[in-house]
Symmetry: C2
Subunit: 147 residues, 2 copies
């Protein structure tokens, strides 16, 4: 099964899946309809989906690189619903992400993932991603600002 | 000493410092003038500088968040020339980064750094950054695409 680019008509489903994603991991979510509307207005963002009905997605955000004439792409989200895991849908989504990144002129794809998420890490590493591209292990740090 | 936003007249110096940065770490660089021109055209990117003459910089790139109405900001580069290190200039730059991120309406700042870069990690952690914001250690992964 191959991933495909989400169409505008898919965004309600995509919003619902993203909402489900964050609820599964007990992260805050603004709700399905807000997410669908947000995705429609984020010009730098593409969603790949898989399944009929859709049961998995990848969200990719690209910007122009500082160091090269190309794009750098960030895998913002990767999700497959629990009941469809273990069927290589995540791999198909990631293959779609890389194919699409190349087609858009990206020369760099990045992502962050937790040390304990061994299935995801094995998938990323099998596709060539490295958490020691500079020689040493790279950490991802974040800070939430009060607004 | 406080950081300040780089002005257009500073971009040649900024390009030279970024070029020096990558040469110090034996990373490829497109050269000072290319970098200065690129920074001038990247509308999502701000540079903070410190020193007179300028001896340090921070490059911050922001985009609209997928999950909130705010901005998410990425610390793309942080550099102080070798002969000026150990004087808390990196801290002043980071304080400027956070102040500017708040002023722009960011609710999230992220960065990646190597495990062995203990001075930088101590600085980031002292400012509240965490590499286990989700509970587990987060890794930063990257893949270079052939173009």
């Amino acid at each position: 099964m191959n991933a495909r680019l989400a169409a505008p008509a898919d965004l309600d489903t995509v919003g619902a899946l993203l909402d489900q994603f964050n609820r599964e991991y007990e992260e805050p979510t603004p709700g399905p309809s807000w997410l669908a509307a947000r995705l429609a207005e984020l010009g730098d963002t593409e969603v790949l989906v898989i399944g009929e009905p859709i049961c998995g997605l990848a969200v990719v955000r690209c910007r122009r690189s500082l160091w090269t004439p190309g794009l750098e792409c960030h895998l913002a989200e990767l999700y497959v619903v629990p009941e469809r895991r273990g069927r290589r849908l995540g791999r198909s989504l990631m293959e779609g992400v890389l194919e699409r990144a190349r087609a858009r002129g990206a020369d760099h794809v990045e992502l962050n993932t937790e040390q304990t998420d061994v299935a995801a890490r094995a998938l990323y590493e099998s596709l060539g991603f490295s958490n020691r591209a500079g020689g040493e292990v790279s950490y991802y740090y974040e800070l939430e600002l009060q607004v």
